[in-house]
């Protein structure tokens, strides 16, 4: 099995994408709702990533 080296951002982005797919599929009842929930959850992941990234940046001074 090849070894992959991802940056923090790439790994977090991949995690957000795959997790959003699963959350979208299992959470809602219609396909449209599933798609919207998956997209919204992906958006929230990205938002949280940037917010926490900046928080850590300023926290370090």
């Amino acid at each position: 099995m090849p070894k992959v080296n991802l940056t923090h951002f790439e790994a977090a982005l991949l995690f957000a994408l795959l997790t959003s797919v699963v959350l979208g599929v299992v959470t809602k009842k219609t396909d449209k709702e599933r798609l919207l929930y998956g997209l919204r959850s992906f958006g929230y992941f990205i938002l949280a990533m940037f917010a926490l990234g900046w928080l850590m940046f300023f926290g370090h001074g």
Partner: protein
């Protein structure tokens, strides 16, 4: 809330849902395939398998149950259970001799979390299968 809106669903018999939920555990996405939800099955199988494979490719460590203080027990036993919940992916990996020690570094750390996340995603898929079999969801 009125009495009509809280109408309780009769519970499905264990012998009906248990084999399908176990099938969903062993093969991620298989429960949905069996219940003829092919599109959702494909998405779940792909997402869970990819998450697990990326965890392996990032050389994540598999948890072993460990006792000690409360936090150690929760993290290691919980991590082990989550790893096992990936079903055949976990079993094959262990049978093929994958044994990665915990190594410092963000890539290994992400790998370990990806392996745990794959198992937790499969738990969500199993719960979804249970809800479909029980008639609570289509």
């Amino acid at each position: 809330m009125s009495d009509q809106s809280v109408k309780k669903q009769p519970a499905a018999p264990v012998k009906v849902w248990l084999p399908i939920v176990l099938f969903a555990w062993i093969l991620p996405g298989a429960g949905h395939f069996y219940l003829r939800r092919s599109g959702r099955a494909l998405l779940l199988a792909s997402a869970i398998t990819l998450t697990f494979l990326f965890g392996i490719m990032m050389r994540g460590a598999m948890f072993q149950p460990m006792s000690g203080d409360l936090l150690t027990t929760i993290i290691y036993t919980g991590g082990f259970i989550s790893d096992v919940m990936s079903g055949i992916l976990y079993l094959l990996t262990v049978w093929l001799g994958y044994s990665q020690p915990e190594v410092a570094g963000h890539v290994h750390d992400y790998g370990t979390k990806f392996l745990v996340a794959a198992g937790l995603m499969n738990v969500l898929a199993m719960v979804d299968v249970f809800e479909i079999v029980s008639g609570r969801k289509s």
